[in-house]
């Protein structure tokens, strides 16, 4: 990413001005135009390490890259939506570390003899269930949003790749349609998962409806 899509790297770090060596931001608040930073907590040198495995290399800033691309590719806005790229990167990484922490905690927690009744044991694994999905989705949002306005970096822009015969109404219909269809499926899925989770591992699958459902649960 540092070599082939430097704008994405700068955007996910909210690096507006070129830095050498580059610092890693823990928290950055930008101003309302999204073009300047107002305040941030930074760890020095770490960004250079993430980008090129040494502590001294230069990470180009968004403003410098924007000027460079305008010269190379013509007039236009080559800066992706920084609020999204910045925070999705933090979510992805943060959840990753939380998952690692949860795994370590779990290894420690099961050493106690009565761990099954612990309050934390009911909450932590359940909460951790959603983290991989959210982290993964954030990562994908970062990838796609960070590459805007390109669909193929340097070669094809999104506005050139759209089918010319499609109207916004068409796209809206299909977008809403897919959301409704997948949303309904999610409802059905959650219903089924909850049902089978409550029934426990000994529940048998339903057969004919003329037979009484043989749902043996291990309820306490």
């Amino acid at each position: 990413m540092y070599e082939s899509q430097p704008m994405k790297m700068a955007a996910l770090e909210a690096v507006w001005e070129t830095e050498e060596p580059a610092s890693f931001s823990l928290l950055t608040i930008g101003d309302l135009t999204g073009m300047q930073e107002v305040w941030s907590i930074r760890i020095p040198y770490v960004m250079s390490f993430l980008a090129c495995n040494n502590f001294t290399c230069e990470v180009k800033g968004v403003n410098e890259l924007q000027a460079q691309y305008e010269q190379q590719y013509g007039h236009g806005n080559y800066v992706p939506l920084m609020v999204v790229t910045y925070w999705t990167f933090r979510i992805m990484m943060g959840f990753g570390f939380i998952m690692m922490g949860a795994a370590v905690w779990f290894l420690y927690a099961i050493r106690r003899p009565d761990y099954e009744n612990s309050k934390w044991m009911k909450l932590v694994p359940f909460g951790a269930l959603f983290l991989p999905y959210l982290a993964n989705a954030s990562g994908w949002i970062l990838t796609e949003m960070g590459r805007q306005p390109w669909i193929v970096f340097g070669l094809l822009k999104v506005q050139d790749a759209v089918s010319p015969n499609l109207t916004p109404v068409d796209l809206l219909i299909s977008l809403i349609g897919y959301t409704v269809v997948y949303g309904s499926l999610a409802v059905a899925m959650v219903y089924l998962m909850k049902k089978y989770a409550i029934a426990g591992p000994d529940a048998t699958m339903h057969e004919s409806v003329d037979v009484a459902p043989a749902l043996v649960g291990s309820q306490d």
């Binding site: 010319p164 015969n165 409806v209």
Partner: protein
């Protein structure tokens, strides 16, 4: 191999994929549409679903392969057709999604209302898919408005013209008949009798619609658009459809199934010969039609694709055929033998 040879080869291969798809998924869609009507009790519906339970997924893959091959071999055809028919294909996808999920979720709850809801979703999804695919192919035969930039200039309602609708309804009817014949081969006992009664009525409807479609096609002059004369193929298709009625009456289910399958294959062969070498005819100006020559990929792409296809397709055909052979036994409604 010359460029032109590769282009013609891939046109034929895509035609084969579509023909295979309609032959295989035809009876899947038919069985799906018949499900709420043939099966009255839960075991009966389970038996009907079990007839296609092991093969419907593999059959749907033929659609994906046909679409994928179109994308790879003739990207401009893919772009114009899939973007142009956007909303129709979106509805088709919704139908296929509904159907696919229903097969999986149906048995997961004992509530009869739950199962009934998903059974109807299978029927409606299959109906939507059959209708829209038929309408798509009818419109490809008729021609659609395409401008000089190879862009489709109509909308969803352009596709729902009388000829397209007739094509869609005919496809639904033929698939219903095809499904009924397949059920006649795979069920036993009372269900088999019920299916036979259905098949007789479905045959009448399918024949009437098919003949209407043929007459419309001939009268509107859609025949000789391309350079290949379909010849006796469409006449043979009508003949086998008429022969089906005889076999249904005599309860010779195997022959009835073969006849309708032949009808589907011959209809598709007619369709592809009618349009060759065009892939999408333009009603705005015939000069702007997409042909296999102006819509294809490069020679290198087609060459690589040919090597890959000729390696893997025989393997796929073998294991799909093997699946059908393994599951060839008739399905009874005996609870002990049903798989949920």
């Amino acid at each position: 191999m010359s460029y032109e040879f590769l282009q013609i080869l891939w046109f034929i291969l895509i035609a084969v994929l579509w023909i295979g798809f309609f032959f295989l998924e035809g009876f899947d869609f038919g069985v799906g549409m018949l499900l709420p009507f043939i099966g009255k009790k839960d075991e009966e519906r389970r038996a009907v679903i079990n007839t296609i339970g092991s093969v419907w997924d593999g059959n749907e893959v033929w659609l994906l392969t046909a679409g994928g091959a179109t994308f790879a071999a003739f990207p401009e055809w893919y772009a114009t057709m899939f973007s142009g028919f956007y909303l129709a294909f979106f509805l088709l996808l919704v139908g296929l999604i509904m159907r696919g999920i229903s097969f999986e979720y149906r048995s997961k709850d004992a509530n009869p209302a739950w199962r009934n809801r998903f059974d109807w979703m299978i029927a409606i999804g299959s109906f939507l898919a059959a209708l829209l695919l038929g309408a798509t192919f009818a419109n490809l035969a008729r021609g659609v408005p395409i401008n000089a930039d190879k862009m489709f200039t109509g909308n969803l309602f352009t596709l729902l013209n009388p000829y397209g609708l007739l094509g869609g309804l005919t496809t639904v009817a033929i698939f219903l008949l095809h499904g009924a014949n397949f059920l006649g081969l795979k069920l036993e006992g009372e269900l088999r009798e019920r299916v036979n009664a259905f098949a007789k009525k479905l045959w009448i409807g399918a024949t009437v619609l098919y003949l209407a479609l043929g007459v419309f096609t001939y009268a509107a002059g859609f025949w000789a658009r391309g350079i290949v004369n379909p010849g006796i193929v469409p006449i043979a298709a009508v003949a086998v459809l008429l022969a089906t009625g005889y076999f249904i009456n005599r309860k010779m289910e195997g022959w009835a199934f073969i006849m309708v399958a032949l009808n589907i294959v011959l209809t598709q062969v007619t369709f592809f010969s009618m349009t060759f070498p065009n892939v999408m005819l333009s009603t705005t100006n015939p000069e702007w039609s997409l042909t296999i020559y102006n819509a294809s990929s490069s020679q290198y792409t087609l060459g690589v694709m040919s090597i890959v296809a000729l390696t893997f397709v025989p393997i796929v055909l073998t294991y799909q055929g093997w699946t059908y052979y393994i599951f060839r036994k008739r399905i009874s409604t005996d609870k002990k033998s049903l798989v949920y």
